[in-house]
C-alpha cells in the first residue's frame, strides 16, 4: 500500500549562502510546472501555516520561517482574488506578530520585534507522482490535463498516456480532465504509479459547442444549438456529409432525395422562412470560419471533427443578414498536443436501388393497351390506327430496322421466332389471331450493383510549439444506375505554430476535386425509359443494339445511356480553401484574432451527344452532335477580425466580451457555350463543333460588410446572459436598405446550482437549466446580385441580332427579410446525468418576406420579387439522451432520440384586392357552406404546401350508372362502365375543377430519429432510424404511367393486377386503363397523392476494436473493423420509390427520381 515515491528530500538551511539558495529555488521553480502570478485565497479561521502553504503553491515562492514563529500566530481569515504576492502576504499577516520580506524568490518571515533572521531551519518536502491515463478500452489518452488539486501545478499526458507531476508533500488529490471525458478526482495519498481510467462523457449537457466566432460549454449556453453526436460520423461512409444529419438534429429537416452518389440532401431548419420557396431556405454553412456557398457538397466526412447547428435567432444574430435559416458550423480535425499518429482507413461498399416501382409485363400490357385503344376510339377514332401501327402493342411492326417494337401477327414467315424465345398470345380484341412478341425487361437494364471505395490517410502531431494535421482522402463511388459515378480527391492540411509566447499563427489548406457522372435526364431514365414496353426491340435481327421504343425519352437504356450512343460528358468541381489567422494574447484575458480566407470553386461541365437514333428507329440518324461546355468560377474572400476579452470579477462574475469585423466578397464568372454539327463522334468537346449555337458569359459580384459583438456574462454559472448583435450591409439590397441591425439576447438559469436545490436534490444527481432567447435575423438569399436596380436581359436573338428586353422590374426598396424568433427551452439532466433532455419551443415571425408576388397578367410580367407578407412558424423540439445501463455495466447502451414539429401560418400577404390577399389556390365547391372557396395557394390565416385533388369514390360498374355524369375537364367526355367515380361535390352532374378537396400537405409536421449505440468490450453496434410524418407526396410516376399520360408506356404492375376489365370487376382497385386517360380516370386526387409518413432504418453498423495489447504486438496504436448497412428499409405505406421529399415525387425533375440506394459496407481503420 505504502508506495509513495519520495524524491530526494531537500533541506534548506536558512543560513545557506545566497548563491546556493537561488540555485535551489530555481530547481523548485522548474519542478512546479508553472508559477502563478496571481494569488486567490478564501479562508476562514484556518491556521497561518495552511494559508502559507497555499500561497506557496500558488506563487511558487518558497517560505523561510521557523515553527516557533507560527506558534505565536492566531487563526487567519483572508479573502483576496488575483492578488499579487505582496498583497496576499499583507492580508494574511495583518493581525500576526510577523513581518515578511521577499528575497530572491523566497519569502522570509520575521518576528516583528526581532530584527534577527530566523535561526531554525524549515524542511520542505516534494514528491513526484507518475501515472498513466487510459480510456475504458485501455487505450492510452494523450493530452489529458493532470493537476494537483488546489494548485496550478500540473502536466499533460504524453502519447503513451503517461504523466509525471511534482507535487508538494501533503498533496492528496489529482484532478484529471480531458475534453469529451468525465473529469475525475484521484486520491494520491500514499500512492504513486497510478492508472486513471477516464470514461467518455455521454452527458450532452456538459459538451462544448461551437458558437459563432467562439465556443462555449453547454452548461453556460442559453441559446438553442444542437451538436451532432460524433458517433454518427464514424464507421459509416458518407459521400455527402449532409446525410449524416438526417434524423439527428431536432428541428432540422433533412431529406435524401436522390441515390446519385454525392448528392446533397435537402436541409431545412425549422421549416424555413420562405412562403414562396420553403424548400430553398437553406441554412448558412460555415466550415472553419469559411462560408460554403455550395453547402456540404464535396466535403470529406473523414476531415470533420464536429458539426453543430445554430437554431434560434439569438445564436445566429451574430451572422446578421444571413442567419435566419439557421447556421451549420463544421470544424475540421486538428493536430493535438503530444499526439502523433498516422492513421489509414478504408471503406468498401456495395449498393443497390432501395425501392423500384414495378411495371407491368408485356403480355398484360398488350391486353390492356389494345382494349384501351378500342375504348378510346369512342372519343378519338384515330386511336384505332395504333392497333395496326408500329406501336408497342400494334401489329404494324416488322423484323426490319424501321420499327421499334417486336409485336406483330404470327405469320408463316415469322413463325421461327417462337423457337428463338419469342412469346405468343391471342389478340385480345380478335382472339382468332395470334400475336407474337419478344419481351425484354428494360427497367432492369437501368440498375446495377454499385461498388464504392473510400480511402483516408491522415498524419497528425503536435508539440507545445506547433501542431499539424494532414488528411488525404480518395472516394470512388459507383451509382446504382448505370454509368453514374462520383469521384473525389480531397486534401486537408492545417497547422498552428506558436511564434511567440503570446502569438499563435495558424493556417489551413483544404482542397477537393470531384468529378461526377449523372444520368442525362432523370425523367427520361427513371420513369420514362423504365416504363418502356417490354415488347420494344432490344436488338435488331442482325444482332446490333436497337434504340427501341419511340425516342431517347422512352427508349432502350442500353442504347441511350450506355455505350457508343450514350451522351458523353463529365462534370466536376475543384474547390480550394485557404485560411490564415493569428491569435495574439495581448494581455491576460485579452486576445485579438485576425484571419483571412479565400475560397475558389471552379465548376465545369461538358456534354456531348454522339450521332444516334435519338428520335427512334423510324427516324433519321441524328447527327447534330450537340456539345456543351460550362465553366463557372466562384471566388470568395473573407476577412474577419475578432477582439475577445475574458475576465472573472470578484470570483463569480464571468465575462466574455467580443467585438469583430467581417468582410465578405464573392465574384462569380460563368461561361457556357453550345455547338453542333461536329463531323464525327471522335471529339466530344466544343472544338469539334462546326456551328456555335449558344455562347454566353457573365460576371457578377456580391459584397457584405458587418460589425458584430457578443457579451457573455454568467454569475457563478448560475445566471447566464448573452447579448450579441451584428450590423450588416449587403451590396444586393435596395439603396435605402443597404444596412441592417440584427440583435439577439438570451438568458439562462441553472436552477440546480441554487442553494435551495439541495433540498430538492440533495445528492446533486440532477441538472436543470431554463433558458429563453429572442433575436432578429435577416435573410438575403434569393436576391440577385443587382436585383434592386432592375435589369434588361440580352439573351435570345431576333433575326440574328441581339435584343434587349426588360426582365426584372427595378425595386429600390428591396431589403433583407427579417425574422424575429422567440425561443424558450430547458436542459435537464436526470439520474446522475444518465438521462439528458433538451427541449425547445420556438415562435418565429418573418416579416418583409422575400416574396415573388404574382402580377396582373396585363402588366406583361408574371411576378415581381419584393418584400411582402409575414409568416409565422412555430414548433417544438426535443432531444433525449439516455445511458440505458449503469456506468459500471460492461455493456453500454445509449439511446438518443429527437423530434421536431413545425407549423406554419401565413399572417400577412401583399394586399391585392382579393379576399385574404390570396395568391394561387384551387377554386372549389364547399359542400359545407354550399358556396365556393379557394383551397390552398397562399391565403392569410392559411398555411403553405396544401395539396388539392379530386376525390376518388370507386368505379362505375355499368354504362347506365356512368351516363349521368359529364366531365368538363376533358371536353365533356361521356363516361362508361369502368370509369372512375369522382365526387361531384356540387352535384351538378359535371366533374369539373371545382370538384376538388384538400388531400394533404407537402410539408412534414414531425421529423426526428432514434439512435441506439451499444458497446460491449471490443464491440460496438449503432442502429439509426429516422422518421417523418405529415407530408403527402404526389406519386407522379405512377400517376403518369397509370393514366398513360406519357404515351405508349407501361402502367405499374399493381395496376395490371388490379385494374377494372369488365363489368362485374367489383373488387378492382383501378378504373379502366385507356390511352391518355381520355375519360379523366387518372388525375391528381386522393389516390395519386399519397400519405408519405415513414420510418427509415437508416443505418446499422457493427464495429470491433482490436485489443490494445494485440495492436501493440502488431506495432499499431489501434485497429478497428466495421460492417454497416445504410438506407436499409423504409416502413411506409407510400407506394412510390421513396417517401422522402414532399410535394411532387420528382426529385426536382419532371417525374424522374434516382432511387435511394441501400448500401452495405466494410470498413477498416488502423493507427500507427
Amino acid at each position: 500500500m505504502h508506495t509513495a515515491y519520495f524524491h530526494m528530500p531537500r533541506k534548506i538551511l536558512l543560513v545557506m549562502k545566497i548563491t546556493t539558495f537561488i540555485l535551489l529555488i530555481s530547481v523548485m521553480a522548474v519542478s512546479a510546472s508553472s508559477l502563478a502570478q496571481k494569488i486567490t485565497l478564501n479562508e476562514k479561521k484556518v491556521s497561518l501555516e495552511q494559508v502559507l502553504k497555499k500561497i506557496r503553491l500558488q506563487s511558487g515562492y518558497d517560505f523561510i520561517y521557523s515553527d516557533e514563529m507560527l506558534s505565536k500566530t492566531v487563526p487567519v481569515s483572508v479573502l483576496v482574488k488575483d492578488a499579487s504576492l505582496e498583497e496576499a502576504l499583507k492580508a494574511s499577516l495583518k493581525d500576526q506578530p510577523l513581518s515578511f520580506e521577499i528575497e530572491d524568490g523566497a519569502v522570509v518571515l520575521r518576528n516583528k520585534n526581532d530584527n534577527l533572521s530566523v535561526s531554525v531551519r524549515k524542511e520542505i518536502v516534494w514528491m513526484d507522482i507518475t501515472g498513466k491515463v487510459v480510456d475504458d478500452k485501455g487505450q492510452p489518452l494523450p493530452g489529458v490535463t493532470v493537476r494537483v488539486k488546489g494548485t496550478t501545478i500540473g502536466a499533460t499526458t504524453d502519447t503513451e498516456g503517461q504523466f509525471k507531476v511534482t507535487a508538494p508533500d501533503g498533496s492528496t488529490t489529482l484532478l484529471v480532465s480531458f475534453v469529451g471525458f468525465i473529469s475525475q478526482e484521484v486520491n494520491i495519498t500514499g500512492k504513486s504509479g497510478i492508472t486513471v481510467v477516464l470514461v467518455e462523457d455521454m452527458a450532452k449537457l456538459t459538451e462544448v459547442v461551437v458558437v459563432g466566432y467562439g465556443s462555449q460549454s453547454r452548461e453556460k449556453l442559453s441559446t438553442s444549438i444542437t451538436k451532432l453526436d460524433n458517433r454518427v460520423l464514424t464507421d459509416v461512409p458518407y459521400t455527402n456529409i449532409g446525410t449524416a444529419l438526417e434524423g439527428n438534429v431536432a428541428g432540422l429537416q433533412v431529406q435524401t432525395l436522390s441515390g446519385q452518389p454525392g448528392a446533397a440532401p435537402r436541409i431545412i431548419l425549422r421549416g424555413g422562412t420562405s412562403i414562396n420557396n420553403p424548400l430553398g431556405s437553406s441554412p448558412l454553412y460555415i466550415m472553419d470560419g469559411i462560408i460554403r456557398p455550395n453547402g456540404l457538397a464535396d466535403i470529406n466526412a473523414n476531415d470533420i471533427e464536429s458539426v453543430q447547428v445554430l437554431k434560434d435567432a439569438a445564436s445566429t444574430a451574430i451572422y446578421g443578414a444571413r442567419g435566419s435559416n439557421g447556421v451549420v458550423i463544421l470544424t475540421t480535425k486538428r493536430g493535438r498536443l503530444n499526439k502523433t499518429a498516422i492513421s489509414y482507413s478504408f471503406n468498401g461498399s456495395a449498393a443497390n436501388a432501395q425501392r423500384i416501382v414495378k411495371y407491368a409485363g408485356a403480355r398484360d400490357y398488350i391486353e390492356l393497351q389494345r382494349q384501351g385503344y378500342v375504348w378510346g376510339s369512342v372519343y378519338n377514332p384515330a386511336l384505332l390506327g395504333n392497333l395496326t401501327g408500329a406501336t408497342a402493342t400494334g401489329t404494324g411492326n416488322t423484323l426490319a430496322k424501321n420499327t421499334g417494337f417486336t409485336t406483330q401477327y404470327l405469320t408463316p414467315a415469322n413463325q421461327y421466332k417462337l423457337d428463338e424465345g419469342w412469346s405468343s398470345m391471342p389478340d385480345p380484341i380478335d382472339p382468332t389471331k395470334t400475336l407474337i412478341y419478344k419481351e425484354t425487361v428494360f427497367q432492369d437494364l437501368i440498375y446495377r450493383t454499385g461498388y464504392s471505395n473510400d480511402h483516408y490517410l491522415s498524419a497528425t502531431g503536435g508539440t507545445d510549439k506547433a501542431t499539424f494535421y494532414s488528411g488525404l482522402g480518395y472516394t470512388s463511388a459507383q451509382g446504382t444506375a448505370e454509368a453514374t459515378a462520383y469521384k473525389r480527391l480531397s486534401f486537408n492540411l492545417n497547422g498552428s505554430y506558436k511564434i511567440r509566447d503570446n502569438v499563435n499563427a495558424y493556417g489551413q489548406l483544404l482542397y477537393s476535386n470531384r468529378t461526377q457522372n449523372t444520368v442525362p435526364n432523370l425523367a427520361n431514365v427513371f420513369y420514362r425509359s423504365a416504363s418502356l414496353p417490354g415488347t420494344a426491340k432490344y436488338t435488331y435481327e442482325d444482332g446490333t443494339i436497337a434504340p427501341g421504343g419511340q425516342n431517347n425519352s422512352i427508349g432502350n437504356p442500353d442504347y441511350f445511356y450506355k455505350g457508343q450512343y450514350a451522351p458523353q460528358g463529365d462534370n466536376g468541381v475543384e474547390d480550394v480553401a485557404i485560411n490564415l489567422g493569428f491569435k495574439w494574447d495581448i494581455i491576460k484575458g485579452l486576445s485579438f484574432e485576425p484571419s483571412a480566407s479565400l475560397l475558389r470553386e471552379g465548376a465545369y461541365l461538358y456534354t456531348f451527344q454522339p450521332a444516334a437514333f435519338l428520335n427512334g428507329p423510324a427516324a433519321a440518324l441524328i447527327t447534330s452532335r450537340t456539345a456543351t461546355q460550362t465553366d463557372n468560377v466562384t471566388r470568395q474572400e473573407q476577412v474577419d477580425a475578432v477582439l475577445t476579452y475574458l475576465h472573472t470579477f470578484a470570483e463569480k462574475h464571468n465575462v466574455e466580451a467580443k467585438a469583430g469585423y467581417s468582410h465578405y466578397f464573392r465574384n462569380q464568372r460563368n461561361f457556357n457555350a453550345t455547338g453542333q454539327n461536329a463531323a464525327t463522334d471522335l471529339i466530344p468537346t466544343l472544338n469539334g463543333s462546326a456551328t456555335p449555337t449558344v455562347v454566353n458569359g457573365t460576371n457578377n459580384s456580391l459584397a457584405l460588410d458587418g460589425g458584430f459583438f457578443r457579451f457573455n456574462y454568467d454569475y457563478d454559472s448560475r445566471y447566464l446572459l448573452t447579448v450579441n448583435a451584428r450590423y450588416d450591409g449587403a451590396s444586393n439590397l435596395g439603396e435605402a436598405h443597404k444596412f441592417g441591425f440584427f440583435p439577439g439576447v438570451s438568458a439562462g438559469w441553472n436552477i440546480d446550482k441554487e442553494k435551495f436545490w439541495n433540498s430538492i436534490d440533495p445528492k446533486a444527481r440532477m441538472q436543470f437549466k431554463l433558458r429563453a432567447s429572442y433575436g432578429v435575423n435577416g435573410n438575403i438569399s434569393g436576391i440577385g446580385d443587382f436585383q434592386p436596380d432592375g435589369s434588361f436581359v440580352t439573351s435570345d436573338l431576333y433575326g440574328g441580332q441581339a435584343p434587349i428586353r426588360a426582365s426584372v422590374i427595378p425595386n429600390s426598396n428591396l431589403k433583407w427579410e427579417q425574422s424575429k424568433t422567440f425561443d424558450i427551452g430547458a436542459d435537464i439532466g436526470l439520474f446522475d446525468r444518465r438521462v439528458s433532455l433538451i427541449v425547445d419551443y420556438f415562435n418565429r415571425r418573418t416579416d418583409d418576406l422575400l416574396t415573388t408576388v404574382t402580377l396582373p397578367q396585363s402588366t406583361g410580367f408574371s411576378s415581381i420579387f419584393t418584400n411582402l407578407g409575414s409568416l409565422q412558424t412555430r414548433g417544438v423540439e426535443l432531444e433525449v439522451n439516455v445511458n440505458m445501463l449503469s456506468r459500471q455495466s460492461k455493456l453500454k447502451w445509449t439511446l438518443s432520440a429527437n423530434a421536431g414539429y413545425t407549423k406554419r401560418t401565413i399572417l400577412k400577404l401583399p394586399s391585392n384586392g382579393i379576399d385574404k390577399n390570396r395568391q394561387g389556390g384551387t377554386y372549389a365547391y364547399d359542400p359545407g357552406t354550399g358556396g365556393f372557396v379557394w383551397l390552398g395557394g397562399l391565403q392569410e390565416g392559411g398555411t403553405i404546401g396544401v395539396l388539392t385533388g379530386y376525390k376518388y369514390m370507386g368505379i362505375y360498374q355499368t354504362d347506365a350508372e356512368a351516363a349521368v355524369i359529364k366531365d368538363a375537364t376533358a371536353s365533356n367526355r361521356k363516361k362508361f362502365a369502368g370509369d372512375a367515380i369522382w365526387a361531384d361535390l356540387d352535384g351538378n352532374g359535371t366533374i369539373e375543377n371545382t370538384d376538388q378537396v384538400i388531400v394533404g400537405n407537402q410539408f412534414p409536421a414531425w421529423t426526428g430519429g432514434f439512435n441506439n449505440f451499444f458497446t460491449y468490450k471490443q464491440f460496438s453496434l449503432n442502429i439509426r432510424t429516422d422518421f417523418t410524418t405529415g407530408a403527402s407526396l404526389l406519386n407522379y410516376p405512377a400517376y403518369i404511367a397509370n393514366g398513360q399520360l406519357q404515351g405508349d408506356a407501361l402502367p405499374t404492375a399493381d395496376l395490371a393486377a388490379n385494374v377494372w376489365k369488365k363489368p362485374g370487376d367489383v373488387n378492382a382497385k383501378y378504373p379502366r386503363y385507356m390511352y391518355q386517360s381520355l375519360t379523366g380516370n387518372y388525375r391528381t386526387s386522393n389516390v395519386s397523392i399519397e400519405n408519405a409518413d415513414f420510418l427509415c432504418l437508416r443505418t446499422v453498423s457493427l464495429g470491433y476494436t482490436l485489443p490494445q495489447e494485440w495492436a501493440h504486438k502488431m506495432k499499431m496504436q489501434g485497429a478497428r473493423v466495421t460492417v454497416s448497412g445504410n438506407n436499409l428499409h423504409y416502413f411506409t405505406n407510400y407506394t412510390g420509390s421513396s417517401p422522402e421529399g414532399g410535394g411532387i415525387d420528382t426529385g426536382g425533375d419532371a417525374g424522374g427520381r434516382y432511387p435511394v440506394s441501400r448500401t452495405y459496407s466494410l470498413g477498416l481503420n488502423v493507427t500507427f
Binding site: 378519338n380 384515330a382 395496326t388 401501327g389 408500329a390 406501336t391 404494324g396 411492326n397 419511340q550 425516342n551 435519338l614 423510324a618 433519321a620 441524328i622 447527327t623 447534330s624 449555337t693 460576371n699 457578377n700 459584397a703 460588410d705 458587418g706 460589425g707 459583438f709 450591409g729 449587403a730 444596412f739 443587382f786 436596380d789 432592375g790 435589369s791 434588361f792 436581359v793 431576333y798 433575326g799 435584343p803 434587349i804 428586353r805 426588360a806 422590374i809 427595378p810 408576388v853 402580377l855 396582373p856 397578367q857 396585363s858 402588366t859 406583361g860 410580367f861 411582402l868 401583399p910 391585392n912 389556390g921 377554386y923 368538363a968 376533358a970 369539373e992 371545382t994 404515351g1047 405508349d1048
Partner: protein, 486 residues
C-alpha cells in the same frame, strides 16, 4: 452598440459597392440609339412569344379548321370543340394568353416613354422606332379586344411595383379601339417612308396600313363604323399596295425556310434555328409514324420528337375537302396519311413544317402577320362591302392558286352576299392555319353557321368572345368575366 453601428456603416458603405458588369440595370439603359435598336428587337422577341402559339389558338383554335388527331389532345380539344369554360379556358400549357400579349405592349410603352428624349443622329431612325412601337401596341390591343372585348388599357410601362395602383379594370371596347386607331394614326405619321427593313420581320408603313385596314374593316362591320370606316380601310390598303410587295408564283415558297422575308410578306414574325421557341405548327405534325408507304414517309421526312411535332391537331376533314386537288394550296397546306392498307390515319401540315437540322425537325416557319394575298382579300371584302366589284383581287389570288387550272376557277362577281361567301371561303383556302379564320368567321357573321361545335348556339352571341378565365382573373381582381361565361 451605436458606436459600432456608426463605425461599421461609414466604413462599410464603400466596402459593399459592386459594379454590375454583366447586367444592364434600369438606370443605365435607354440612353443611346443603340439601346433603342436593342429594345426594338426585344419588343419583337416578346411579340414572337405570343405569336408562337397564343395568337394562333386565339385566331383559329375555335374555328372549324381544326380537329383531333392521333396523339393526346393536351386540352387543345377544348378549342375546336368549343367546350371552354371560365374555370378551364385554356389548353394545358396555354395559360399566359394575356401576359404574352401584354409583354410587347409593355415593351412598346417603354419605347414610347424613353425614345422621345434620346438624341438620334437621324430623325428618321427615331421616328421609325416610335412608329413601330405604336404599331405594335395597336396590333396587340387589336388581338386582345377581338378575343375578349374590352380589356385593361395600359399605356405606361411597368417600372415599379405599387400594390395600390397595379390593378386596372377593363376598359370598354370603344375605348380600346380609340386607342388602337390613335396609335395607328401616330404610327403612320411617323414612318419616314414605305420601304421594308430587310427580312420584313418588323413593322413598317405598309404593314401598319394593312393593320389599319384590318382594324377599320372590323369596326366597320362589328361596331357600326359603316362607309366611313370602310373608306378609311380601302385607302389604307391602297397605300400598302404602293410598297414593294406582290404574290409569289409558287404558294409553298411563301413559307419556305430558305425564302424568309420574301416579296409576298408585309410583316412576319421571325422564327429561325437557334432563336427561341418553335411555333404552333408543331402540334399538327407527327412523330412515331410507321406502317406507311415509303412514298408517304418521304413526304413526311424527318418526324417530330416528343412534344415537338406531335399529331395533336389536324386540319379537319370538313376543311380539307374544300380544297380541290388542282389547288396548289392543298399540298401547300396539308398532307393526308394513309397506312399500308390504304386506311386514312391522319393528316399533317405541310405549311409551317419548319426545317430539318441534322435529322431533327424544327418548327421555325415564320408566322405571317400580313401578306399580300391577305391584303388583296381584305380589299375584296372592303370593296364588296362598299358595293364595289371585288373581282380583280379575287382573281389575282385564284390565279396564283390554280395556275394553269385557273380557267376553271375564275371568280365572277355575284350578289354582295354571294361575294362575301366566296371571299370568306377564299380566305379559308388561302390563309388556312395562319391564325385568321376565327376573326374572319366573326367578321362575316358566320361562326355559328360554319363551326359544327357551335351549331345551335347562335342564341348566345357572347360565346364568340373568349372567357377570360380563372387563371387570368386570379391575377386581375378588378377584371370581370365575360357575361356568356359567368
Amino acid at each position: 452598440m451605436l458606436i459600432l453601428s456608426l463605425a461599421a456603416s461609414s466604413s462599410c458603405k464603400k466596402n459593399i459597392e459592386t459594379t454590375p458588369i454583366s447586367v444592364i440595370t434600369s438606370s443605365s439603359f435607354f440612353k443611346t440609339p443603340d439601346d433603342v435598336a436593342g429594345a426594338l428587337r426585344g419588343m419583337y422577341v416578346d411579340f414572337r412569344t405570343t405569336a408562337a402559339n397564343d395568337m394562333f389558338w386565339l385566331g383559329e383554335g375555335r374555328s372549324e379548321v381544326l380537329t383531333g388527331a392521333v396523339a393526346g389532345a393536351q386540352g387543345f380539344d377544348k378549342f375546336w370543340n368549343n367546350t371552354l369554360s371560365a374555370s378551364a379556358p385554356n389548353a394545358d400549357n396555354q395559360v399566359n394568353f394575356w401576359k404574352n400579349l401584354y409583354a410587347p405592349i409593355n415593351s412598346a410603352n417603354l419605347m414610347l416613354k424613353y425614345v422621345p428624349d434620346i438624341t438620334f443622329p437621324s430623325a428618321d431612325t427615331k421616328n421609325s422606332a416610335l412608329a413601330q412601337a405604336y404599331t405594335m401596341r395597336a396590333f396587340c390591343y387589336f388581338v386582345l379586344v377581338r378575343a375578349w372585348g374590352g380589356v385593361p388599357i395600359r399605356t405606361e410601362p411597368l417600372e415599379a411595383y405599387d400594390a395600390s395602383t397595379i390593378n386596372k379594370p377593363r376598359s370598354s371596347v370603344a375605348e380600346v379601339f380609340a386607342l388602337i386607331k390613335s396609335d395607328l394614326t401616330k404610327a403612320l405619321s411617323l414612318y419616314p417612308n414605305i420601304t421594308y427593313e430587310a427580312g420584313r420581320n418588323t413593322w413598317s408603313k405598309a404593314s401598319a396600313d394593312a393593320l389599319k385596314a384590318d382594324v377599320y374593316l372590323w369596326t366597320a362591320k362589328m361596331l357600326n363604323g359603316g362607309q366611313a370606316d370602310l373608306t378609311t380601310a380601302l385607302a389604307a390598303v391602297n397605300e400598302a399596295q404602293t410598297s414593294d410587295v406582290g404574290l409569289l408564283p409558287v404558294y409553298s415558297d411563301i413559307f419556305s425556310y430558305t425564302n424568309k422575308g420574301n416579296k409576298e410578306d408585309l410583316m412576319v414574325v421571325r422564327f429561325q434555328l437557334n432563336e427561341g421557341l418553335q411555333n404552333y405548327w408543331q402540334t399538327m405534325y407527327i412523330s412515331n409514324l410507321t406502317n406507311v408507304s415509303a412514298a408517304t414517309l418521304a413526304v413526311v421526312g424527318a418526324q417530330g420528337v416528343g412534344n415537338t411535332g406531335v399529331n395533336t391537331a389536324q386540319v379537319s376533314k370538313l376543311v380539307r375537302d374544300q380544297f380541290t386537288t388542282d389547288d396548289q394550296r392543298r399540298n401547300g397546306t396539308f398532307f393526308e396519311i394513309y397506312d399500308n392498307a390504304n386506311k386514312y390515319i391522319t393528316s399533317i401540315v405541310t405549311k409551317g413544317s419548319g426545317m430539318v437540322n441534322a435529322g431533327t425537325r424544327n418548327f421555325f416557319t415564320d408566322v405571317v402577320i400580313y401578306r399580300y394575298a391577305d391584303l388583296l382579300l381584305m380589299k375584296a371584302e372592303i370593296k364588296n362591302a362598299l358595293s364595289q366589284d371585288p373581282t380583280t383581287e379575287m382573281n389575282l389570288v385564284r390565279q396564283r392558286a390554280y395556275g394553269t387550272n385557273f380557267a376553271a376557277h375564275i371568280f365572277v362577281s355575284g350578289s354582295p352576299a354571294a361575294n362575301d361567301d366566296a371571299i370568306l371561303k377564299e380566305r379559308l383556302l388561302e390563309l388556312c392555319t395562319e391564325g385568321k379564320r376565327w376573326w374572319d368567321l366573326i367578321r362575316f357573321g358566320q361562326a355559328f353557321n360554319l363551326v359544327p361545335s357551335l351549331a345551335g348556339k347562335s342564341g348566345t352571341p357572347g360565346l364568340l368572345l373568349w372567357p377570360i378565365g380563372l387563371t387570368i382573373r386570379a391575377t386581375e381582381p378588378l377584371v370581370t368575366e365575360n357575361d356568356a361565361w359567368k
